[in-house]
């Protein structure tokens, strides 16, 4: 049962901490490796990894926090972080950070620090940081005689229009009219925000009280995305894309927007074609890439917050990030120093455009996530699905309705 708090095999002369995380076996393997290293370096502490499958993680975490049985340290997806922080489940780390002479906010990407803050109080340090990046199939580009998008990006020519033309040039149908290769695919929300922000639109007002999905830029962005599917036929319809028929790994997709953390998977499964990464197309806004991470937090009822702080500092330290982000590439480093280190930038296997990760992170912004995120994105997704699945064709109509419904929901008492 979750109620048992005594830590098994805790040495009597040590302070024991439990750390809860999820991930695939490789990810958890690295975390265990880091924990072993930490335990070796800190004779007074003993950390135990508490694994929970990803599918049940969110529920388990909420129930443990609510019943005050949560482990000392948890990794929380940023989607859930603000809502849980608002309930007072996490330790305020501001004072720990102030007292810690080795900790300097300036060492980290500002977006990485921002995600862990509520107002100006620090509640978590970022881990598994990263954001959206464009993966592209170099072999398909070569076959179609297209110029490398990263070269175009460097010259400032990698625009949304250019992206659309490229998608057209990559798409191929067979003699029966069946699609063989699609130029691109529409990613699930919130990765679509790269287009929303790129076209100058927005999702929420700065105070996150009102929806702005009916703004001109957002409408243009979604019309653009829907047209890629229904007008240009360069991206699969939901039916064509069902069961991952045109997944990037299949080699039947030219370009896709996905999380930076997909790299180890593509490295492992992609054998039949060359691929690389490139920042998302340049839009009108200076920062339009989606940034998101997880936060390492200390449970409010941990009896050893001081020790817990030392542990999360270790997990966000240079050696850990070098191992996790540079060698395994499971995520993007939160530390500017690691991102610009030769360990991160030099590589002997794809993706070779490692600078593109740094450029994407620098050109990125965080999502407007607060405790109402889950609620309004549910409405937004169901409305936008009408557009992307082709049941409706006019983005403005759909997004106006979405805004009205979201605003109505946000005006409601949140508990019901």
């Amino acid at each position: 049962m979750v109620g048992c708090r005594r830590i098994v095999d805790c040495p009597p002369d040590k302070v024991c901490l439990r750390y809860m995380a999820w991930g695939n076996p490789e990810q958890l393997g690295v975390e265990q490796e880091m924990i072993d290293r930490f335990n070796g370096q800190n004779p007074d502490l003993h950390v135990r990894l508490f694994r929970v499958p990803g599918s049940a993680y969110g529920q388990k975490m909420v129930l443990m926090l609510a019943s005050r049985t949560a482990p000392d340290v948890l990794r929380v997806d940023h989607y859930n972080f603000p809502a849980l922080a608002a309930k007072g489940y996490f330790q305020d780390l501001t004072e720990f950070a102030k007292k810690d002479t080795g900790f300097r906010e300036g060492d980290f990407f500002p977006t990485a620090i921002d995600e862990g803050k509520i107002g100006d109080r620090l509640y978590g340090l970022n881990a598994l940081f990263g954001g959206v990046i464009m993966y592209y199939n170099k072999t398909l580009f070569k076959q179609a005689g297209l110029e490398d998008p990263y070269e175009l990006w460097k010259r400032g020519e990698w625009t949304w229009e250019r992206y659309r033309q490229t998608a057209k040039a990559l798409t191929r149908f067979d003699a029966q009219g069946k699609p063989r290769v699609f130029g691109t695919a529409i990613p699930p929300f919130p990765a679509t925000s790269v287009a929303v922000w790129g076209f100058g639109g927005d999702l929420m007002s700065p105070d996150m009280k009102k929806s702005e999905v009916d703004s001109d830029g957002t409408v243009r962005a979604y019309q653009f995305l829907a047209d890629l599917v229904w007008k240009d036929h360069v991206a699969p319809t939901p039916a064509q894309g069902a069961n991952s028929a045109f997944a990037f790994e299949s080699g039947k997709l030219g370009m896709t927007f996905d999380w930076m953390g997909m790299t180890p998977r593509f490295r492992k499964v992609v054998k039949s074609f060359d691929w690389d990464v490139c920042p998302t197309p340049k839009g009108t806004a200076p920062r339009s890439n989606v940034i998101k991470g997880n936060q390492l937090v200390v449970s409010a009822n941990s009896r050893h917050p001081e020790a817990a702080w030392r542990f999360i500092r270790f997990l966000t330290s240079e050696p850990t990030e070098t191992r996790l982000c540079a060698e395994i590439r499971r995520a993007f480093p939160t530390r500017i120093g690691v991102a610009n280190s030769p360990a991160f930038l030099k590589t002997d296997q794809a993706p070779f455009n490692t600078r593109a990760f740094v450029q994407s992170a620098e050109g990125g912004r965080t999502l407007p996530i607060n405790e109402r995120w889950g609620e309004w994105t549910q409405i937004f997704n169901s409305e936008v699905d009408n557009l992307l699945a082709g049941r409706e064709r006019d983005a403005r109509t759909v997004l106006r309705r979405a805004k009205a419904r979201i605003d109505a929901a946000l005006a409601e008492d949140p508990g019901f």
Partner: protein, 302 residues
Amino acid sequence: MALSTSVRRWTQRPSFWGFLFVTPWLIGFLLFTAGPMLTSLWISLHKYDLHTMEYVGGENYRRLFSKDPLFWKSLKLTVTYALFSVPLGILGSLSIAMLLNQKVRGIPLFRTFFYLPSLVPAVASAILWQWVFNAENGALNLGLAIFGFAGPQWLQDENWALPAFVLMSLWGIGGGRMIIFLAGLQGISETYYEAARIDGASPWQQFRRVTLPLLSPVMFFNLILGIIGSFQTFTSAYVMTGGGPNNATLFYALYLFRNAFEYFKLGKASALAWILFVILLAITLVQFGLSKRWVHYEGDSR
């Protein structure tokens, strides 16, 4: 002395043995079902997110009935699903049970084969059916194409997603329900058929006048369980469509689950659960009322 007589008096009652045998279940029910049920009734009168709890009276219910279009949508589609999947499923199970009740060589083998699909875990069969319904390369549409039909986009089409679920529910016709029918069929004595044949009854008349009436208690049992089961459809929708497209497969149980464990609106979710309970209780009571007209128990005077 007095003790032993009173004990004997107790043990002589048939109800004593009845209760004795169901005691393990009874304890389990009171402890693990009735307790949480009453708690959920209490929670349904609150606004509760696992953190703060506030008494709101019937507000959760009022909001569901008056200003929650998704509640009505999920209820409507669940009822529609039940209306199609239950009769079709019972018809299918009965037909297979009749076939498997024939005296043919290798019948145990056939029975095993027809039962096999129900041994596939629900999640695995949901993923399997996701492939069957694939609009481009699915077995179903490829099969239809052979006969010159262009199949719909099934799970991606708002209008065809629910029919797809009904179709998929027939995958389960060879399962437990079929076994119960089969047991029921085997319980019908051959003498009835003999007598009917001597009276010159056609096979259809034998089925209509002998099999169906004698099978009616089993039918009744399967009907009640079938309706309850179809109202609780969850796994397939959770795995295959996540309630989409455009909430076309947002089954009641899925909507309930989401409110409870994704949005953590425990008060609303509890209210949803109680509404479902009342609906199912009402349907079952009506069924019991109607059953007097068509269910015949052996030894009945009718």
